[in-house]
């Protein structure tokens, strides 16, 4: 039974909604310089705390900076961290999980022990601890978050690879003398794609959340524009009316990104899980 997972994701309302939100955020982040005449740290000539206007769509903050601009550039930070971690962590998961399944034996055992021990570590705590001392920038944050998020994916990839490697085309390639990189990246990863994307979406969601959380706690690189930081600054001024166009839009942007990722992830996972698929399913022609 072959199911077109991608079509199923696009066919579900949850999946469409999720992809739409993600696409929207990506567009905002990419075209940030075109969507605003200001730079995020520029102190404009408008007075502080001014209301939304034609010049400043979301008004200005206490330092006369344009909030809409900061929101756009904040999207860049969140999405870079999300994508960075998804790519790096996904790659490590495939490399470790895949090779562990292909080689087996002591090598496999060793990595599975490492995975077990790493999963037992409460990652948020380690991240806060390291960040409290080192105030990570975007790149360092990607490395830090990836170092802690690959084991979960590696476990899933290993399990999937164990069944995939018995397939005909993989054993055929093996008899022709293909090395493990060829087996892994040419024969196994293409079949793994939906699972891998589901893992990467989960990693990305977690990374976006952690980046915002660390900035909210004030322990990320102070020179990076970030939604978490904006929320933390804006929170102080709740006694003024400014939260309506400062705090709320920022929080909504962050939540929309997270919701977009979790909706897409959910649609993908339910398309992958045959038990959850509708019985009146059109795609597999009802057995």
């Amino acid at each position: 039974m072959h199911v077109d997972v991608w079509r199923e994701v696009l066919g579900s309302n949850v999946g469409r909604m999720g992809l739409l939100l993600i696409a929207l955020m990506i567009l905002l982040a990419i075209f940030a310089p075109l969507l605003t005449p200001y730079s995020p740290r520029e102190n404009t000539s408008t007075p502080a705390f001014s209301r939304p206007s034609a010049d400043h769509w979301l008004g200005t903050n206490d330092a006369r900076q344009d909030i809409w601009t900061q929101l756009l550039y904040g999207a860049r930070t969140s999405l870079s961290v999300g994508f960075g971690v998804a790519l790096l962590s996904g790659f490590i998961s495939v490399l470790i999980g895949g090779t562990a399944a292909i080689f087996g034996g002591l090598y496999d055992r060793f990595w599975m022990r490492v995975v077990d021990a790493t999963i037992a570590i409460p990652d948020v705590i380690v991240i806060i601890l390291v960040a409290a001392y080192l105030r990570p920038n975007v790149l360092f944050m990607i490395l830090l978050l990836s170092a802690l998020s690959w084991p979960g994916g590696a476990r899933v990839i290993r399990a999937q690879t164990l069944t995939l490697k018995e397939r005909m085309h993989v054993s055929a390639a093996r008899t022709f003398g293909a090395g493990w990189p060829h087996l892994l990246f040419r024969h196994i990863v293409p079949d793994l794609a939906p699972v891998l994307v589901a893992i990467m979406i989960q990693d990305a969601r977690r990374a976006v959340f952690m980046e915002a959380g660390l900035s909210f706690l004030g322990i990320s690189d102070p020179s990076v524009m970030s939604w978490g930081k904006m929320i933390q600054y804006a929170r102080v001024f709740t006694f003024l009316e400014v939260w309506k166009w400062w705090l709320l839009p920022t929080g909504i942007a962050l939540s929309a990104t997270l919701i977009g990722l979790s909706f897409t992830g959910y649609a993908l996972e339910s398309a992958l899980d045959p038990r959850l698929r509708d019985r009146d399913d059109h795609h597999d022609g009802g057995i």
């Binding site: 949850v14 022990r113 077990d116 021990a117 790493t118 999963i119 037992a120 570590i121 409460p122 948020v124 705590i125 380690v126 806060i128 601890l129 390291v130 409290a132 001392y133 080192l134 959340f209 915002a212 959380g213 909210f216 706690l217 004030g218 322990i219 929320i231 929170r235 709740t238 939260w243 705090l247 709320l248 929080g251 962050l254 939540s255 929309a256 997270l258 919701i259 977009g260 979790s262 909706f263 959910y266 899980d273 038990r275 959850l276 509708d278």
Partner: protein
Amino acid sequence: MEDQYGRPLEGPKVGWSIPKATARAWALLRRAAFFTNYAVAFLLILTLNFVLPRLMPGDPFQAIYGQEALLAMTPQLKAQLIERLSLDQSMGSQFVAYLLALLRGDLGYSYYYNQQVMTVILDFLPWTLLLTGTALLLSTLGGLVLGIESGFRRGRRLDKALLGGLMFLNGFPDFFMGIVLLLLFGVLMGVVPLSGALTPYSGLAGLPLALDILHHLMAPLAALVLVRLTSPYLLTRNTMITTLRESFVMTARAKGCSEGRIKYRHAGRNSLLPVVTSTGMMIPHMITGALFVEIVFSYPGVGWLLYNALLTRDYPLIQGILLMVTVAVLAANLLVDLLYSKLDPRVSDAR
């Protein structure tokens, strides 16, 4: 024992060729490996705690105690502290001194509070326990009930509304959910207090005190529960969907069981086990979620303490808090792992 065709059930099964003693030794080894994971994780955090301040450029003394502490320090005190941390000795003996101090329950000294770190944390811990405990209980129970109802009505309006709504709520980061509730109920409607865990100097006791505490607890609790309800809900719903297809449910229907009985006694019961496990696995997220929510509501728990420690760069306190949270999280996970294999005999067989 024989199956319906008269073939022996016991005998040619997994492990038949391994002598019993070897099997037992193997099981013990696995159990040991299982504890090792937690030991390794714990040791890693200890090492990070030890290494990070000493890796910082400049005087490790400053990195360990923070800048503020240094200002108020006399030479005598400094000498005493250097001796206490063995900072004048090799890294190895410093690490030993660090571990020995931890064994004595000595987490260091907070200069901001002018108290032992342990004492400071214990002052703030009860509020966090109250918040996370109730949130854990409510979100598990709520998720279970909603999941059962939703899974039972799969595809109908209530199911779709619940699924969409809870997935949506789950997207919010805890701290933003807290802020939204604070703005809505605290700032706009004025029905919940804006900060704190009880009214200071009110002199309340007994029932009025309990109500006051509840009044302060409501909003942070709601924020945590709303965000964390989704994972037990989804799990229960999924289990319900698979369980409802099983033949024993059809049997129950055929013999005329009421809907409610089928829902809760037959199908719902099967969701208990995965949900218990997920509750355990939720504990770390719940604790870290509570840290953020406490900051938003200035709720005087460990999270709020951590935030202030980060602001004042009270490094001994930061380390102490994170170590305590680690111990709590690892202990909870260990407990759930053990409990799970007790609850579900299939797991211990598979191991």
